[in-house]
Symmetry: C2
Subunit: 214 residues, 2 copies
DNA sequence: TAGATTGTTAATCGATTAACAATC
DNA sequence: TAGATTGTTAATCGATTAACAATC
């Protein structure tokens, strides 16, 4: 939350880059060789200058009058985000959310390969989701070490989130993508990124409130 | 994305309020009658003044030396977000993610009641998830009108997101909580809030990149 | 060439933090 | 009372937008 911005790249820039990427891929599939900031800005409802600034962080240069080369820009963004080489990850908690995340094939495009799930429920242990095994949580330390896993996706119920986190950290996990909705207590060297549904819902709720009463 | 801030409440404030709420509920369950901004700030790693400002939007007043009354503050935040009266919603797309969202019981605490799911897959139509029916998408207009549903949770695959959105809008849905990862094209009077996993993953990926290379 | 677009510097805007008087 | 904490105003900080020269 109050995490220091890594090497000066604004978090907001990082959050926007994937939306540029999606748009650029659409343009690439339509055979567009080059594209200008103005064009991207129009589609996404942003200011062209903002996009130019964001793209500069990736190191690409555009050509006046022409814009940026679409394929070059796609590669540059993917590389900048580290999405061009696969990061292997495990999912902790194979409830319905964990199941959904294990089965989601779109992660491959974001450089994420889920290699296994972990749970404590004997009913789930030994099953497979999209060909990926579900192991007993007890085996996490062993697997993390043998497969050199750095990233864990936390998808357990809120009540056991901290407990599961402790196991992950002891196992050697270096970064946690946290879907549990709980603010986790962690060693300072462990990275976390929270997917905060209640924050998102709060924005929507209050828009709805104000809209309804207007 | 570039949505106007409703009635002057900063989006960032809205996003923080649920985290205050969660902390306050923990304090309430421990029997704390009152709490200061300093205390909240410490737990969440934020500046006390920021919290004081945020809480002022809810209309509560604190007492110097004492702080805020925990139960009063809880009610005020819940009321401010509209979480104290139930909003009924439907889920469009009962794949694994839609299934997970339909089954998630925590939404009740956020004023959200999922009343039904909709899908086009004959295998799913007619089934139930946690006692809630899954209907044919064709029946959406009818149900939305009869039950006065305003909110739709979009959980279909990216390829059909825009198409499903069009159906939702024609049915009379006023607000969309969008889990599809696609930037939707909408009539201007329809509210959207995107749950953007790729933005979240981008932040985590680049932190990991920089950490790994350090 | 003329005009569109980049890259960059300056101005604006909004959000966060600091300072401090008021209060219980 | 003394000290902690609120509410509020001012200062800072960072992110976005505007302006504009350079370039193809």
């Amino acid at each position: 939350m109050a995490a220091p911005v890594p090497r000066g790249v604004p978090v907001q820039t990082l959050r926007r880059l994937p939306s540029y990427l999606a748009f650029l891929k659409r343009m690439a599939s339509e055979g567009r060789p080059a594209i200008s900031c103005t064009h991207i800005a129009q589609d996404l409802g942003l200011d062209p200058t903002l996009i130019r600034k964001d793209l500069q962080y990736t190191g690409v240069v555009g050509r006046p009058k022409v814009g940026y080369q679409v394929p070059v820009l796609i590669c540059a963004i993917e590389h900048f985000l580290g999405w061009d080489n696969m990061t292997e990850a495990v999912i902790i908690g194979v409830g319905s959310l964990g199941h959904a995340l294990m089965g989601y094939e779109g992660f491959a495009k974001h450089g994420l390969r889920i290699v296994a799930g972990f749970d404590t429920d004997p009913e789930k242990i030994g099953t497979e989701v999209k060909g990926k095994p579900v192991f007993d949580l007890d085996r996490l330390p062993d697997l993390v070490e043998r497969l050199h896993i750095h990233l864990g996706v936390l998808a357990v119920p809120a009540e056991v989130a901290q407990e599961a986190t402790n196991v992950m950290i002891l196992s050697g996990i270096k970064a946690i993508w946290n879907f549990s909705g709980v603010k986790l207590e962690l060693a300072p060297e462990v990275l976390v990124e929270d997917v905060d549904l209640s924050a998102s819902l709060a924005v929507l709720s209050s828009k709805l409130e104000r809209r309804a009463s207007a």
